[in-house]
């Protein structure tokens, strides 16, 4: 018998090395208690959360929680069924209505996760003989949507309109094409050049899908995303998003003005062949989405916090992936795996939780400590995070004030 897990021995050994060096495994955190959107108990220690994508702090919103409690009372714990069979309750319909109102679009389809929304939409939209054209730094769910589908997948250089246009130009003019872009690219926290790329993609005869997972609630006049802020709403065919970030629960969706959008409910396998979200989850999402339509105060605080942390880390000499705070994600570029893991573990000991990201999830072989801000972080918490970063860097002897070179890899 071939041991099917032995193909992962190199990775198993790598984890073992970190463990032997006394470094806590960054990928096995358990939060024993969660106090608020910004605080939890980890390893028995009060910890400030700076890596949860809980941008608007809706997880503990009293109205949102009450909507969930009411839905449990009225509809029970779960639907035990697919959206197309017994899994669509009044709560699901109301959640899709909230999305239509939030985005001012005619159609909305809720999937069970954001990952499944990308899988389900991309794999169903473009099929054999057609093309999906995606950014090199696309999220795994976009790549996986392409793998699941049967269309040819073409990848262009990250955020490069020129490279995208060149590659689109090589494709047969008459073939169906779907260009997939993101509002915020989550690994480095940079924003998409949608203003240039969306019209260029349309010009080349493609339909355009924009994933606004990391932008909902705080870009554009209505918080719809980077596509709204950059003024290309009229050119975008499909917007995909998630409930697991700004909305504060779990789920995914696609909104569109396309009159034929609803047919995806029958042909999208990740929509059809899975159970729908529990009624409490969609009831909470609907309430949260409607509150996010009027959340100017939270938006302002989120940007203030982001500027404060970005500016502070930059001042301390950390190497940040974006020169200015483009999104609520601040990615600190680290030199190598061991320093990254030590720094991450030291921050945790100091009561700060951030994300550690490593290849292949990261572009160009980079090791990152990724922070994501919340509207509910207090100035004191931001100050504590900054102090901990400086302290941790000193403890792990991370040189500051100069560019830490990412590990050399393919250009």
């Amino acid at each position: 018998m071939t041991d099917l897990l032995s193909k992962y021995d190199a990775l198993t050994a790598e984890r073992g090395t970190l463990h032997a060096a006394g470094i806590r495994d960054p990928f096995s955190i358990v939060m024993s208690e969660v106090r608020s959107p910004t605080q939890a108990l980890i390893d028995g220690r009060e910890t400030i959360l700076v890596g949860t994508y809980n941008y608007m702090g809706m997880t503990f919103d009293p109205d949102v929680m009450r909507a969930g409690q009411d839905a449990i009372q009225r509809y029970g714990a779960g639907t035990t069924g697919s959206r197309v069979l017994n899994g669509t309750y009044q709560t699901h319909a109301e959640c899709e209505a909230a999305l239509r109102d939030f985005y001012a679009m005619a159609g909305a389809i809720v999937f069970s996760t954001g990952y499944q929304a990308n899988l389900g939409v991309i794999s169903a939209l473009a099929v054999r003989g057609e093309y999906v054209i995606l950014d090199a730094d696309s999220h795994a769910s976009i790549y996986d949507g392409c793998s699941m589908g049967t269309a040819d997948t073409i990848r262009f250089r990250h955020n490069s309109p020129e490279d995208m246009i060149k590659r689109l130009g090589r494709l047969p003019a008459e073939a169906g094409k779907l260009v997939v872009l993101e509002g915020v690219y989550s690994m480095l926290g940079d924003i998409g050049r949608l203003k240039e790329m969306v019209p260029a993609a349309k010009e080349a005869g493609a339909m355009v899908l924009v994933d606004e997972a990391h932008a909902m609630g705080f870009y554009g006049p209505n918080g719809r995303g980077v596509y709204e802020e950059q003024g290309v709403a009229d050119h975008v065919d499909f917007v995909v998003g998630t409930f697991s970030k700004s909305v504060g629960t779990v789920g995914g969706f696609c909104v569109s003005d396309h009159p034929k959008l609803d047919i995806l409910r029958l042909v999208s396998r990740p929509y059809v062949f899975t159970a729908s979200l529990p009624p409490a989850v969609v009831a909470m999402a609907a309430t949260s989405i409607r509150k996010l339509m009027h959340a100017q105060g939270k938006r302002d605080r989120l940007w203030e916090n982001t500027r404060a942390l970005h500016g502070g880390l930059k001042h301390q000499g950390f190497n940040i992936a974006t020169d200015t705070p483009e999104s609520a994600i601040i990615a600190v570029i680290m030199p190598d795996q061991v320093t990254t893991a030590r720094m991450w573990a030291t921050l945790l000991e100091l009561g700060i939780y951030v994300n550690m990201a490593r290849p292949p999830a990261t572009p160009a072989g980079m090791f990152l400590l990724r922070c994501s801000l919340c509207a509910e972080h207090t100035p004191d918490q931001i100050a504590a995070v900054l102090a901990a970063f400086e302290n941790a860097a000193a403890r792990v002897a991370l040189p500051l004030g100069r560019k830490a070179e990412p590990v050399a890899q393919a250009a």
Partner: protein, 81 residues
């Protein structure tokens, strides 16, 4: 008709800067098992090759192109269209 030998030589030039392990590269050299390229490296390599010959090599076709020889054959075929 493009010259397969010339394409092979040019592909070796694309591989050289990525070949950090200094593996000796020939027709049968495998990208993953011999050169130890990860998927990102392979995708970047392919982007350069697409531009060189103005061809389209979709990501979904890459699993079939395990060796330098197979990639050379695919590029030769596409470049002759």
């Amino acid at each position: 008709m493009p010259d397969r030998a010339a394409i092979h030589t040019r592909i070796l030039e694309f591989i050289a800067p990525l070949n950090t392990a200094g593996v000796s590269v020939g027709e049968g050299t495998r990208f993953a098992d011999d050169l130890m390229f990860d998927s990102l490296t392979v995708m970047d390599l392919v982007a350069g090759i697409e531009d060189e010959w103005n061809i389209v090599l979709p990501l979904n076709a890459l699993p079939e192109l395990e060796t330098v020889g197979q990639l050379t054959d695919a590029v030769t075929k596409l470049a002759s269209k």
